[in-house]
Symmetry: C2
Subunit: 393 residues, 2 copies
């Protein structure tokens, strides 16, 4: 006898992975230069050279037992101090190293936070469009997963709808900005208004409503502000990852920040640690902790992403595609010509243009493009986009 | 409102960690040379030099996007092939790369396997003495955790007691050999007899009883055989870690093997993957996957552990301490003079000799020594052991 929920989670492949596999198969047939795969959010700029330099330096200057040994479960103190110093310098924050829990990337960090806040009947509210794994993470944690409908066409937050969905059982609101899949950055105005609503509701309900901020794309932003949320809403818990900012998605390193400002912060922190332990967390990969201790101040070189972003946004908009302004991450979220994103994606697939329909993101009628690809692929794909939209004009 | 179980898991420090912290504090007062800390099972021999060489080579010869990029959730194919080839060559096994799931060390791998097999009322049976984290891992997975009493003084398995504890709800039996904390290796005779019992009971119950083999110490063995379990009992699932064999405990790399011989192997494999996904597993750290692809054949240099083992075993036995023959891992599990291991450990602590009482391992009256320490520390500690046992003779 097998756990059927676990089996279903393991056996049901994601639509995105399927598209990606299809792209690889097609590439073998028609040549990779003729497949325009926009399916996977895999960074296409390499890690900053300082990262590999730091690895080499650590192997040379640090005792092997220390480099590769267990750290405490919460993480190497030097790494936590480097992260804390960096955030404090950038945002005028007052974090302390003790408020950070180093994790194996945003996914397990979110799981730990969800489980730390999972009480019977507890609800987690997020905003469409949203990263599809939130749902199994929340439901397997034992939370009721609720979604605020998308705020079209700008993909900020429909605050009225959100306010109406808050209940005494709401344990947390989950945000992701810069957003996957929309590429939108929530503005300070949006977040300030949200904070006001949450404060009022929390006071009315008599318990905190935590704001969980999933921030793997925080540094991937093109000329707009990504506000530091704990300064706007103290009961914020941040889940961060170096997957995108340092192009280390496979290495599984990031952190949970439970700021001292947060209600019951020490209890929340302990519960996050306990939830991580119950999932088998021992420590984040130790070499990468030591790299972060030396590299927490580095920022990605966004020149190539930005060139892709502008080329696609301007070209597609000129063709008549409609989309929100993509200020962050490496995604465009585009209204499907004809209104049916699944049908449009199927048409595109026949031309070896691989787009992800928005249904899985809680937003049918749109499709996602990951522009972390070569500039050349973008240029070659534009005629295909042009042909496709002509069929609907 | 916080998840109280998660909070308790995060807030309650382990007795072992407390001892270790105490040792560090005492070292600051009396000098580290006067603290005989045997508390932590942290490898004391460095990783083989080939490991760091492999890291350097990978950074030099492999594209950064590939080195640090996402792998598939189940892991890099080359790494899985290297592991499969190595096991097949050593044990005449017929594993295939597709049967391996690369994980972030034995802890999350065990959690995934437990959750894959967690059905309502399902029971997990292990054998005392056992690694204390098994209990929260199993209970948080939703399994009933049951323990077969220890087989004193040899710490093999009390097969009669085990057979009596198998029920139609038994989903799996969990073994750890070489064993933490006893240092004992289960013999082929023990395992063959166990397999016979499990086969009979499984037939009687009409469903498989899986054998989960937690094998982080498989390569740490001194002149005796560690049988390859799937050859003895096909319904075996192996959880392995390179923490001890390559002295990489902080790097979080290992694997689950669900052999093709295993009942419903593909369903079990998918459920393990799904359970891992629900805990936030994305992939094992990618650089370390690539290291394993090059280093799966390496074995630890056990000369220093063996010297420690023999020095302690012979000296302590000569003083009158009683313990099972320590054939594997880096532990001795010793009968407490006077019979009360907590009292004995407290007496020892006053002499800055740090021993872990066996209660947490499900085996009161014994204490554990981790001999992954310097030979010098062992020599300096022997007079303390001598003084202590004299008080009881």
């Amino acid at each position: 006898m097998i756990n059927q929920k676990a089996y279903a989670l393991g056996a049901n492949r994601s639509c995105i992975r399927d598209l990606f596999e299809y792209g690889r198969q097609q590439a073998a047939i028609v040549g990779s230069e003729n497949v325009y795969d926009y399916s996977l959010g895999n960074p296409s700029i390499p890690a900053p050279p300082e990262v590999n330099d730091a690895v080499r330096a650590i192997l040379n200057d640090t005792d092997s037992l220390l480099v590769h040994g267990y750290t405490s479960a919460v993480g190497d103190y030097e790494a936590r101090r480097a992260i804390s110093d960096d955030l404090n310098a950038r945002y005028g924050a007052a974090t302390r190293p003790e408020e950070f829990f180093l994790g194996c990337g945003a996914a397990p960090e979110l799981v730990s936070v969800f489980r730390a806040l999972a009480v019977p009947g507890g609800e987690l509210l997020t905003v469409a469009p949203y990263f599809p794994e939130y749902k199994p993470f929340a439901e397997e944690a034992g939370l009721v997963f609720k979604v605020v409908p998308p705020d079209v066409p700008d993909f900020q937050i429909d605050l009225e709808a959100l306010a109406a969905m808050l209940t005494p059982s709401t344990q947390a609101v989950l945000l992701n900005s810069p957003n996957n899949p929309s590429g939108v950055v929530y503005t300070r105005q949006t977040l300030t208004a949200l904070a006001k609503i949450l404060r009022e509701k929390a006071a009315a309900f008599g318990h905190p409503i935590y704001l969980i901020s999933d921030e793997p794309y925080r540094e991937l932003v093109y000329g707009v502000e990504v506000p530091y949320l704990p300064a706007i809403y103290p009961d914020t818990i941040i889940c961060y990852s170096y997957s995108k900012s340092l192009s280390l998605p496979g290495e599984r390193i990031g952190y949970v920040l439970v700021p001292g400002s947060c209600a019951d912060s020490q209890m929340v922190y302990a519960a996050v640690a306990g939830a991580a332990r119950a999932c088998g967390h021992v420590c984040a990969p130790s070499l990468w902790q030591k790299v972060i201790a030396r590299c927490a101040h580095l920022r990605p070189d966004l020149v190539r992403y930005d060139r892709n972003r502008q080329a696609l946004y301007q070209s597609l908009a000129a063709m008549g595609y409609e989309m929100a302004k993509p200020d962050g991450a490496f995604y465009l979220f585009i209204k499907a010509p004809g209104g049916d994103a699944n049908r449009f994606s199927e048409l595109a697939k026949k031309e070896n243009l691989l787009l992800v329909p928005g249904d899985g993101f809680g937003c049918p009628g749109y499709f996602r493009i990951c522009y972390c690809v070569s500039y050349d692929r973008i240029q070659r794909s534009l005629p295909v986009f042009e042909r496709l939209i002509r069929q609907f004009q």
